[in-house]
Point group: D4
Chain length 219, copies 8
Amino acid sequence: MTLESPEFQIDWDRARRTGVPEAIFCEPKTPAQIDAIVAASSGRRLLLTRLTDAAYRALAPRTAAVLDYDPLSRTAFLGERVALTDSGIGIVAAGTSDLPVAREADRTLEFAGHRARVVADVGVAGLWRLLDRLEELRACRVLIAVAGMEGALFSVLAGLVEAPVIAVPASVGYGVAAGGKAALYAALASCAPGLVAVNIDNGFGAAAAALKMLRVGDR
Amino acid sequence: MTLESPEFQIDWDRARRTGVPEAIFCEPKTPAQIDAIVAASSGRRLLLTRLTDAAYRALAPRTAAVLDYDPLSRTAFLGERVALTDSGIGIVAAGTSDLPVAREADRTLEFAGHRARVVADVGVAGLWRLLDRLEELRACRVLIAVAGMEGALFSVLAGLVEAPVIAVPASVGYGVAAGGKAALYAALASCAPGLVAVNIDNGFGAAAAALKMLRVGDR
Amino acid sequence: MTLESPEFQIDWDRARRTGVPEAIFCEPKTPAQIDAIVAASSGRRLLLTRLTDAAYRALAPRTAAVLDYDPLSRTAFLGERVALTDSGIGIVAAGTSDLPVAREADRTLEFAGHRARVVADVGVAGLWRLLDRLEELRACRVLIAVAGMEGALFSVLAGLVEAPVIAVPASVGYGVAAGGKAALYAALASCAPGLVAVNIDNGFGAAAAALKMLRVGDR
Amino acid sequence: MTLESPEFQIDWDRARRTGVPEAIFCEPKTPAQIDAIVAASSGRRLLLTRLTDAAYRALAPRTAAVLDYDPLSRTAFLGERVALTDSGIGIVAAGTSDLPVAREADRTLEFAGHRARVVADVGVAGLWRLLDRLEELRACRVLIAVAGMEGALFSVLAGLVEAPVIAVPASVGYGVAAGGKAALYAALASCAPGLVAVNIDNGFGAAAAALKMLRVGDR
Amino acid sequence: MTLESPEFQIDWDRARRTGVPEAIFCEPKTPAQIDAIVAASSGRRLLLTRLTDAAYRALAPRTAAVLDYDPLSRTAFLGERVALTDSGIGIVAAGTSDLPVAREADRTLEFAGHRARVVADVGVAGLWRLLDRLEELRACRVLIAVAGMEGALFSVLAGLVEAPVIAVPASVGYGVAAGGKAALYAALASCAPGLVAVNIDNGFGAAAAALKMLRVGDR
Amino acid sequence: MTLESPEFQIDWDRARRTGVPEAIFCEPKTPAQIDAIVAASSGRRLLLTRLTDAAYRALAPRTAAVLDYDPLSRTAFLGERVALTDSGIGIVAAGTSDLPVAREADRTLEFAGHRARVVADVGVAGLWRLLDRLEELRACRVLIAVAGMEGALFSVLAGLVEAPVIAVPASVGYGVAAGGKAALYAALASCAPGLVAVNIDNGFGAAAAALKMLRVGDR
Amino acid sequence: MTLESPEFQIDWDRARRTGVPEAIFCEPKTPAQIDAIVAASSGRRLLLTRLTDAAYRALAPRTAAVLDYDPLSRTAFLGERVALTDSGIGIVAAGTSDLPVAREADRTLEFAGHRARVVADVGVAGLWRLLDRLEELRACRVLIAVAGMEGALFSVLAGLVEAPVIAVPASVGYGVAAGGKAALYAALASCAPGLVAVNIDNGFGAAAAALKMLRVGDR
Amino acid sequence: MTLESPEFQIDWDRARRTGVPEAIFCEPKTPAQIDAIVAASSGRRLLLTRLTDAAYRALAPRTAAVLDYDPLSRTAFLGERVALTDSGIGIVAAGTSDLPVAREADRTLEFAGHRARVVADVGVAGLWRLLDRLEELRACRVLIAVAGMEGALFSVLAGLVEAPVIAVPASVGYGVAAGGKAALYAALASCAPGLVAVNIDNGFGAAAAALKMLRVGDR
């Protein structure tokens, strides 16, 4: 194996080109690969996603030392933090089980300088919990909704607000809901127009989309 | 083919044994088979389901003459009608497209002597349509809910009422909703406890279940 | 993450609104989340489901001390027990492997004050085992049937009794039966009218539906 | 396209080598191809399967004239008929809708010289219909069972008889039963040991297997 | 069937509440239902989608007369047209086969008063076709991308532009691409962050989402 | 849980009624359940299947002591062994990876008193390995074929022999072959008539079917 | 719809860049679109695929007049024919039903100047048909194999020859074989190393791959 | 179990017959089986694939001692190494996560005497990384492309080069990409003609195909 290129090529230019900061998806990478990527960053800012607690602890001490790690969302920040502004992004989680994915979205926004409002445990089987928060949700400019099981939250929410709603199906559930496809299909098949979806458990992608939507107004 | 038995054996005893009238599922049967079944009934009551308009018109005139046919639900009644009572069964349809399935449930109940209340076009993308009818729905003793697409109606409704809710997923939709599996999985994966489901488009089965539930109180 | 709401909102009002006691689905929750929920209950009654033995042992001692835990069904009761009545609910399990799911249904009913009759190991490959118990089964007002593999029990049973039958497909099996979809589809595709289904392994949901059906007669 | 071989090569030797007569699967063939195959047979015996009524009528008159066609099973015989013996093969069909597939098996056996006993409309939702015929079924040496929908007949039957049971799932049904996979999985996942399955709607294959089983005793 | 409500309830308030005009999904509706809906509109504006040419021709003459119908997109406008502005929305279609879906998005935007730029036949198998149009695409504020087959266009495009990209998988293709799931999964699994997806062939939904994104800047 | 029946009911009569010895599927059972079943057998013969090495070692010493355990096939014999005869059953395994399943079939036959001939590692990618054994295979009265991956062995073998061939798809493989469905579908879709299939990895079921086929000749 | 580009952009440069002639996939195109493409070609050579007989007859007469159409393969040539050479490409079809797909591959090669050898009806259920042609097949430099049903031909063939084998699964079959996925998975899961696959029914793609392989030797 | 043959039969003749060296797929084999195979090789050359680090360490010391093991690709060489030549094979990996599969292909080629060029981390979401390497890639005679997630690399690459491209979908990803089917379908549904695919994660098979393609020119 004459490796003609280094094993990884970080797309440092992504933020400028697409408006989304470069992130490293750690799940399929070895600790050694992550150590090397962090070492190569030379202090530049980088977001690490899907870094489990076990994987974080397997990193070299010098890597772990420079990371700001959050176990719930399995994310880490490398480099300086930026000041936060409230740009009107809301994150809605149907149940407590959806919080890791919601928090991944939240941390991604935080890394990019945005403070989101998180509204949790408002699943539609107890509809009043959602309706009680309606004014707050209607005030948001962009909404990220996280739900597993049957994903009914997506349609109900999108029918109630003016903001674009980004559905993140969560792989929470069992039987026909296992793996998150029931929630994903609920998002895609929704009769509420204007709802869009990202991949199952993809809190990072939802945040990236929200960032791009925020910039629509600035151009 | 030495047919050791007649080709069909109608289970005339079913109503007594299980509380549900015997019905003939016409979809895979030839006109000649249906003609023969009707001829063999000797005036006893029989419900025919999935009898399309084209199939109805292909029947022998003497068969068609004794049937009370409804094209929307694709059902026909054979034999005397029975008087109707309102037993507190409600049928909720998410959209106008769900009416054929809702009507199949309604006709089955009618054949068995029950007048149901039908509430149509109350999909959750416009939540207020459903909430406006809430009192009426809460007064029902058993509810049948018909919805295609993402089937979010099932969870919302079941979270609001005390009555058992029987979900009938409808094969209304396209893309991931085609065929009705997205709606079926929404019903099964629902976080609203006590929701039960029947097969896609099975309005007859939902009515049969409702009939059995009504009798729970009588025993 | 400025969490605008507490992480969980228990729907204490559910029993009154829908007839089913509030339950906590523990599978995707951390021990700390369960500890917090129990602490917040202030002595009110709560049912915990899908609490594995390992998860139960990871709870804080003060949490475990107030729970009445059953390892087979992976359920726990919080709060006072209520007196039991026999309301005519039967639970039928096709094989011994289906007992954990059957027991989850049974414990849910027990929590709500109902003593069910459980009939086990009556799979249809040895049909006489089921027929021997027929009189007993026909005396039930509502039946919950649990079966994995090919789920043939559902159709046979529903064709023999007057009571509504709630099918709970079990994720027991291998090859095409793995995960429980073969049994689920058998329940949904059944030619026995009036059979209804809940999600795979959802013993709790079946019990909740049975509770709602019992109340049909009281209204 | 320099076709190096004729377009078809009939395996005239199959009967001798495998015990099953050569058959032509007509569904994907053009009338011209079928005409050519029949012309090439030079009076030898041949079974044609999946020859729809429309396809039969599109054949050249000289082809149609030499075929003994049966529209229900969509089969045709070419060549002399052989005398029939009763070898103890039974064919059981769950409903009238399963008769086309059952008849395909029956015609295949007839072509090979065996008169089968056909027992129809004994689906398990009305269990007594099957139990009434039990003695007759137990007398069979090999059983072919045809069922669509949830296919519960397979397990019940195989648990009651000593003969090998060959399950033929039928593509009869809708919703989750559409296409026959629910019935196929029921056959494969059956808890009744010794049940074997062939492809959906494959009455011919079931008959071929039955023929091979009959010969086990002769060797 | 005592229909307690009219069969349909148009959500005239939707535009105000969610920013998307009310649209009627005509595919599962009968001509009579569409006639009734149009009659009930009393001159208010309404968008009709999935109205095939055959369905359009089956409408009552007085209905057809008031509709502005476009056969390629299968859409019709009811009510006054509004003046168009260029708001920076681009629609990219991978191949000519994707034009009906692209045109549905375009017509939806047109109905809402936006003139979109449409760039067609820029599939990535001939990458230079896309790169030649890059400057134009980068100038857009929101992009809708329509692609069937393997959907590789979504990832390539989203990696090149700053605007949010809404992927519309098209049901164009055969074999593993049939039905559009290969393209849908390509959109969802994309390694280009910020890409969002709507249901297969849902050009209307993509336009609705684009409209909501445009308004993010106005709030 | 008032358990109305003991938790298990062994079908001691099965051998007489169906020709297949009663077997206990151990996979979903706890060690305590297996201990109880063995204790209840009172010396009668019983076959235990899917008893992993770990499960075997978790049994009570008095249970393990009376079992004749084979780790490769994960089977155990309880009770006296019977003398073996060669009845002409052959077992063909495509690769060494298929041996556990082949051995489960072999042990089941052994338990029932039959000595099978096992031919291993004759996958069709090296066709001569199979052709070299052809005479031996043609001498068999019944053949069991075990293959994972693409399962091409089934068709090739069934086209070469007169005996019925029972296909056992093995869950050997990765990617599209993972779980065994590719091999299962190859068996069911085979163009070799008379091939029958059992569930994936079901060596026991294949042996049970072979036993039933042997008896066809004795009746 | 301000179409910024013409609706189609033919990639005339493809042959030079990738070695495969530009082809037009006609299935999802309207007659008018095909007429326009042909008109725009200005005499350049173009291959049209998936042009059904009905679609061909719906073309404008001036379009049809310049096309060399073949109904079996549903292909048409536009422009001058080139002289043919035998480059050692063989096409093997398992059954007569696979000929349309085999012929599509053959026509594509012919358009590119290669005369292929076609060997038909050599399915493995009658293995000797294939072995009889072995010498001929071994002489080929590249082989295209077309098979539906269980696709066992792919593994057997690839295990016997030195040439690369390109598997084209055909959508021939019913039940589990319907649509061609069983054959596709057989090709991909094959234990014969070096076998490669293209999409179901993609005779054109297989020919394109064969052309690229031929050129490997020339570079 | 009278094992009529040794448990394994190594196809030492494969290299001569098909141009691909014999390889042992170790995943489903026990350490004892691998030890036996190595012992039986008598110094002949053999490639071992899917030998995980844990499995390698479980081998007998005398086995491990004679193996040249590479943990990244999970491959081992037995027997003498051969000298390497650069034959113009390129291996392209979309991300660092695809390297294990890419390395399996690379090691297979190395075992057969070919030095490949490996180009890593050129996923299309940052298109310029790929375009920067275009000249190098266009110089290759055969290309192997490894990609997980949405697999968009396959189409883009195949549209840019003249060499045949062998797609190896990688089981890298989550949600709809889990298991690699999204990438596989992207390869098969590609609109870039001439692209061929092997099974998910099958780096060995891709290398075997590349070896066969190289030999096309030599014959």
